[in-house]
Amino acid sequence: MTQSSKKENGGILKKIFSDLTFKRGIASILIFLILWEIGFRFHEWFGIMVPFVGKIDAPTLVVARWREVVLQPGYWESWYLSFGRVFFGFLVAQVIGIPFGLAMAVNKNFRGLFFPPFEILRPIPPLAWVPASIIFWPTTELSIMFVTFLGAFYTVVINVLGGARSIDIQYLRAAQSMGATRWDLFRKIILPGTLPSIFIGAAVGMGITWEVVLAAEMISGGGQQSGGGLGFFIWSSYMGGVMDQVIVGMISIGLAGYISSSLIRYLGHISMPWRRMF
């Protein structure tokens, strides 16, 4: 115990940078960037164009463009807007989805009532809801959030339901014979037993919300505010024919998604200590 905490205090950064996995990761990203750059420059150097890669603006151009873009407030507003939409939709999906999934898992009548409509609605892609949702909700902002919510909701519910129902019956039986009431079973067995599935649902759901929010922003025109979100940022850059800015937008989304899923992994890490002892 004391030994490991001492180790952790001794410079986490130093440990990360000397880690082989970290070095490999850096190397693979560098190699990827170099190949991309070569692919683009091939035409200049040898007069032949490499198909596909040759048409995409080189990393150096993208970085140059990025340095301009970060100075524009619109870019950061887009970050802020997309993040806001994603987190709002995601949060509501968790708040409604987790209890809903748990209720279906533990109560046969509830499941009988709500599972069929849920299963009918589930195959409808969230983006198919965009027109209906624009009509239904008073503001574009709310309709984008609603579509984002749908993106995560189904995944959350399915994971929670499946996770809660696959809890080993021996845990329930053991607790029951030690005197657990129904409420105890729910609180002390089903809830912690479902936690891993809740986090899997959250991680997958987070990915889907990012996909959905971007598409929704493109379709809806990004709302009335300036910036309009990262999806709208890409779309308007494309309309303006600024290809390197499209790529700036794409990479921004990659980073945004990475930040969000890291956050969820971190939350999972601290709330499930029994899964991190190896």
Partner: protein, 277 residues
């Protein structure tokens, strides 16, 4: 009712499935569990041992017949007939200590400091003091079984039901666990039911062995094991133990073969098998 009878099963039957495909798993099973004795239940695999465990623990109720615990009918799971499960049923999200105090904490029937000291002494008894704050997945197979024993013991059940508790352990660990369990039983009198498919394990541990028939399960024979106590695993080499084993083996073979009856291929196999035995 005799004072020494803790649990009595009278003509218990249990079937599963819908009416059109009903299978009787336990039929007319009558059995008495004696106080402070270790009763082993052995039977050919697939004969319905798990169903008997579920009946003893109150997870299932008999279709016919009745089960009484200290004279009162058994109507559901309770801490008085606790199961130590096959493999492990420790909650993976609780540490050893948290698992051990799980039952008493749930019921709130023990003052806090009393519970703490009781839990610590039981954890000591099973030799897991240093693993008190580890999670089940950090323990080896043998430690998990001991932790599970501790979790059951602290509830002071009237009857402790061991459902093939050492299954899945490697041979060495299994032997160690058997020795440990022997000592535990001989230190303090407890009423135990030990379900197993290993005959030798049953002989060395038990005061009496119930040999089950093939499915549907009923009592084929009761064997009193009069090996002296304290026992050790070497006693398996004694002539008495050998006699018990030979006798029980004969019955078990006979019962096991019933599930092979029917086809020609099987009768060839059976002939070869009985010659070997």
């Amino acid at each position: 009712m005799n004072q020494s009878d803790v649990m009595i099963l009278e003509n218990v039957s249990k079937s599963f499935g819908e009416d059109w495909a009903r299978e009787t798993v336990v039929k007319d099973l009558s059995l008495t569990i004696k106080r402070d004795q270790l009763t082993a239940i052995v039977g050919p695999s697939g004969c319905g041992k798990s169903t008997i465990v579920n009946l003893l623990a109150g997870f299932e109720l008999p279709d016919e017949g009745r089960i009484t615990l200290e004279g009162k009918p058994l109507l559901g799971p309770s801490k008085d007939s606790l199961v130590v499960f096959q493999e492990t049923a420790l909650m993976p999200w609780l540490t050893t200590y948290q698992n051990v105090v799980f039952g008493p904490q749930l019921r709130g029937d023990m003052p806090k400091d009393e519970l703490k000291s009781a839990a610590e002494s039981i954890i000591d008894t099973v030799g897991l003091r240093e693993f008190r704050d580890k999670y089940p997945l950090q323990l080896s197979g043998g430690m998990q079984r001991r932790a599970e024993l501790a979790r059951a013991l602290i509830n002071q059940p009237l009857v402790m039901i061991m459902d093939e508790p050492f299954r899945g352990l490697d041979a060495m660990t299994r032997q160690l666990m058997q020795e440990f369990y022997l000592r535990l039983c001989e230190q303090e009198a407890r009423t135990n039911v030990f379900v197993t498919s290993e005959l030798e394990e049953a002989i060395i541990l038990a005061d009496s062995i119930v040999v089950l028939s093939n499915k549907p399960a009923s009592v084929r024979e009761m064997l009193q094991i009069d090996l002296p106590r304290p026992r050790n695993l070497d006693m398996l080499n004694s002539t008495e133990a050998y006699e018990y084993k030979r006798h029980a083996m004969e019955i078990l073979h006979e019962e096991a073969m019933k599930s092979f009856k029917g086809t020609d291929t099987n009768s060839d196999f059976l002939e070869a098998y009985s010659r070997r035995a």
